[in-house]
């Protein structure tokens, strides 16, 4: 589940000349052509591991209604958010984790996806297939445009460019583009929207309750969750394949040493652009799913704070790993859900075991960090992670695992 092959799995053949004398070994045979017999080649990534990991992941995701219950998180609204932001983070990770380009503007693609999906619900059909297709498509177009310009620079310039573009989109959504976005009020799906495809099929475009559906199944509650979960598993598989592919290795090469990549013959800009667009499309899908479970699109999704949030999720979980971003998304959304609901009265109850006088004190200390102050806790957590655990939680787990293995061997 990480990006480097597990070295403990490789069996090495120690060739007799495996020392520095190889350096001066006479090698007067034909220059660097393929030897008649290929050397022992163990697979870099055993295919079985990937299959098992994918299956485990899929099982874990689909079984969320079960194993989240002890955490009090097994209700559809929250689970949907886990999954949707998981998709967003996994996509973001393809750009940031693999190429190292830090974009602060991905919320714009999330927002565009939402708007596109809602417009599809209004103009074409309540079916989610065209809606999601439109979301992915328009997010892809926008990310192509923004990426093409932003990627002409790298590093901090790139980050600022993406931030500038995202702010532009956000401002435009609230001002000039209000015919499309409906500004502050947001875009709603109405009972009597045109919906030309539905009208053609069902004979009418009016519905009792305008909710997204999938060929008759209304996408609310658990049904909505499972639809999102399917998308997440598909997204995971795509991210996995990309990571294991030569393309993924090139992206890592770009992160490691972009100059060298150019000098060994790669035109690096199209590679980064493709990664950017793919991550933008993932964000669009997430936006579309958001609109699916709650058919209202608002511009606040496009604010830079939303971009910052996905950066947090990816870093917290572990940038560059496969499961890390999803983990980060789950944790942040989970604690957001819990923490932000903690008002003073709840705190009083939580700390009821503390004696009377001290309890006020304790509540006073804790309360700025919860409820409205949830973002404070988030910010502090983020600073701590970047300072001490830049590889995120996945790195933390690995370190713990290494500690255990070292203890076992001693």
């Amino acid at each position: 589940m990480d990006s480097t092959p597990d070295k403990t799995m490789m069996t090495e053949n120690r060739s007799p000349a495996a020392d520095t004398s190889a350096f001066t070994r006479e090698n007067t045979d034909t220059p660097s052509r393929l030897p008649p017999q290929a050397p022992q080649m163990e697979p870099l990534w055993p295919a079985n591991r990937d299959v098992i990991m994918t299956v485990l992941f899929a099982v874990a995701v689909f079984a969320m209604p079960i194993w989240l219950q002890p955490f009090g998180a097994a209700y559809p609204d929250l689970m949907q958010r886990f999954v949707i932001f998981g998709i967003f983070a996994i996509g973001f990770n393809i750009l940031f984790g693999l190429t190292g380009y830090l974009s602060f503007g991905h919320a714009a693609f999330l927002g565009v996806g939402s708007y596109a999906a809602v417009w599809s619900f209004k103009l074409f059909s309540l079916n989610i297939i065209p809606a999601l297709a439109m979301a992915i498509f328009f997010a892809g177009i926008l990310s192509l445009a923004i990426g093409y310009i932003s990627l002409r620079r790298s590093g901090i310039y790139f980050s600022i460019l993406t931030l500038a573009f995202a702010q532009m989109c956000y401002n435009l959504a609230y001002s000039v583009l209000t015919p499309i976005t409906n500004g502050e009020t947001g875009l709603r799906v109405l009972r009597d929207d045109p919906r030309i495809i539905d009208a053609a099929i069902y004979g009418t475009n009016e519905v009792a309750v305008p909710r997204a559906d999938f060929f008759g199944i209304t996408m609310t509650g658990n049904a909505g969750f499972y639809a999102c979960a399917v998308c997440l598993v598909i997204a995971f598989i795509i991210a996995l394949r990309i990571s294991r592919s030569p393309f993924g290795m090139m992206l890592r090469g770009i992160k490691s040493n972009q100059v060298r990549m150019n000098y060994i013959g790669f035109n690096t800009r199209p590679y980064t652009l493709v990664a950017f667009v793919i991550s933008g499309m993932f964000a669009g899908l997430a936006g579309g799913l958001l609109a699916m479970v709650d058919p209202l699109a608002g511009a606040e999704r496009m604010q830079w704070t939303a971009s910052g949030e996905v950066v947090l999720m990816t870093i917290l979980g572990g940038a560059g790993t496969l499961i890390g971003p999803f983990l980060g998304a789950v944790i942040i959304k989970y604690f957001e859900n819990i923490f932000s609901a903690l008002g003073d009265t709840t705190l009083m109850n939580v700390f009821s075991f503390v004696p009377e006088g001290a309890r006020d004190f304790v509540v006073a200390i804790v309360s700025p960090f919860v409820g409205e102050g949830w973002h404070l806790t988030l910010g502090i957590m983020f600073v701590l992670v970047v300072c001490f655990l830049p590889g995120g939680l996945i790195e933390g787990f690995r370190r713990i695992g290494r500690m255990f293995r070292a203890k076992k061997e001693s």
Binding site: M250, N257, I264, Y271
Partner: protein, 253 residues
Amino acid sequence: MVANRVLHVADVQKSFAGLKALTDIDLEIEEGKTHAIIGPNGAGKSTLLNVCVGRLAPDRGAVVFDGDVITGKTPYQINQLGIARVFQTPEIFADLTVLQNVMAPAFAKRDGQLRLNMWSGLDSAKDIRAEAEHTLADLGLAEKRHEDASALSRGDKRRLELAMCLVQHPKLLLLDEPTAGMSRLDTNRTIDLLKRIKERGMTKVIIEHDMHVVFSLADKVSVLAQGKIIAEGTPDEVRANPKVQEAYLGGAH
């Protein structure tokens, strides 16, 4: 028999804000030969190299490689035409394993400057893998193939960089002070390695400071001073040339 001219630097001029870095440079590199470019600090060696690899565009003149004009081309285009470059400080992919370091250039060679190979796994590229493994074995790095490149010693990083170049079977290998900052032992090892490559008939251009390296390897030497070529010839001829001795303030060591 007329020797094949692999690289021709023709009448190149380059100035930086009025400072003439290169003036009237005319160089011919012959196939299969090892051509050294030496000169005191600030003579313009790095500038010349950067012009050859596409990092700098000359104000005047052209660089012709095997019949193609390469002035103004991007580094990746020039590499695809067959020039590989070794940097002063070994430039490798520190985050990848040694094997992956060598597979990447092999991919570039096979697939060209852009190939969106997203679906097939890395394992299915068996030919690339074999080629990379072979090159690593050739350079004595086979047993380190799954280590992170960042963990290698400086000398091993240099070997890795050479492997990355050699796996592409370049027509021309450009080496920018390959033994800079190396110990005597490492320098000798590098010389041996380069001698082996030389035996295979690869054309090389080396920019060097270390005279020992130059005399061990070079077939022909060009001396650069203050942006101009002041002498050219075999190592012995150059060593005896009074102009060269003067430029180095006391002669070669």
